[in-house]
């Protein structure tokens, strides 16, 4: 399966920072798709083959946590690797996200090393 990474954040600046970080790690430019909220992300996920979701928490319309719960309730998305990339740094937030079904959790601001490590771990065992 070719790699496709969906970056979901209501901040265009933050989507670009994540994308540029991955570009500097030699990810090809054509693997990225972007969405500005959970609803837009869900609609993309329904239509496209996405191999990894990098998902913000606090967003309008459908937030990241609600999207995770919706995705994990559907068989098609049970195994989709989801990394929550959020400013929410409290332990109780991390626990809530893990209970909802995220694969991993990264607190903003992102740094290159942790993003690379989280992605590598999340994709381990998948056919990407």
């Amino acid at each position: 399966m070719p790699m496709r990474i969906l970056i979901v954040d209501d901040s265009r600046i933050m989507r670009n920072i994540v994308k540029n970080t991955l570009l500097s790690l030699k990810y090809p430019a054509d693997v990225f798709t972007e969405a500005a909220d959970g609803e837009e992300a869900f609609s993309i996920l329904e239509k496209s083959e996405i191999s990894l979701l990098l998902l913000d928490w606090n967003m309008p319309n459908l937030n990241g946590l609600e999207l995770v719960k919706r995705l994990r309730s559907l068989e098609k998305f049970q195994n989709l690797p989801i990394i929550m990339v959020t400013s929410e740094a409290a332990k109780y937030n991390i626990i809530e996200a893990v209970k909802a079904g995220v694969t991993d959790y990264l607190v903003k601001p992102v740094n290159e090393k942790s993003l690379q490590e989280k992605i590598r771990n999340a994709l381990e065992g998948t056919n990407v």
Binding site: I13, N16, A89, A90, K91, K108
Partner: protein
């Protein structure tokens, strides 16, 4: 002045600037903000806090510094307050408020989406009541900015 729980906000601000912009702003002496005060800033990002304490976090910049930070983050020269500058200020206050929760773990807090207030010497509508609003001035080689925090039951003076 006995100010509790200001440190997580100072650390979150310094860490956000260090990670995103490569330099750590210096925090100057905190002060009590007067509610009627008209801010000497051009753009502010505002986050509401709810849960086991109600409050607000406001990050305020002069226009030039907000544009300069956005120029660094986007790689595109910013000469006016456009959507990218607004987005940058909103995302910075979001990161600061979210990261500060790490140092306030004994309270379960929820943060709102950021709002932006713009305009020369604009005013912020602070929460009513006796909650003190603490201002923390920061300085960078490019200029000054300010973080104001008011949290019911948490920040006391």
């Amino acid at each position: 002045m006995n100010i509790r729980y200001i440190t997580p906000f100072i650390e979150a601000t310094q860490n956000a600037f260090l990670e995103l912009l490569g330099s750590k702003p210096e925090a100057l002496t905190p002060f009590l903000v007067r509610r009627e005060e008209v801010l000497d800033w051009d753009i502010s990002g505002v986050i509401g806090i709810a849960g086991e304490a109600r409050g607000v976090v406001v990050l305020s910049f002069p226009r030039g510094l907000a544009q300069e930070i956005t120029t660094i983050l986007t790689g595109q020269m910013k000469t006016s307050v456009d959507d990218d500058v607004i987005d940058t200020v909103g995302e910075l206050v979001n990161i600061i408020a979210g990261n500060a929760k790490r140092g306030l773990e004994e309270f379960k807090l929820m943060i709102s989406l950021p709002s932006i207030v713009q305009g020369d010497s604009h005013q912020i509508g602070w929460p009513s009541g006796s909650v003190p609003i603490v201002g923390i001035p920061f300085t960078t080689p490019q200029g000054h900015f300010n973080l104001s925090v008011g949290l019911e039951n948490i920040i006391t003076v």
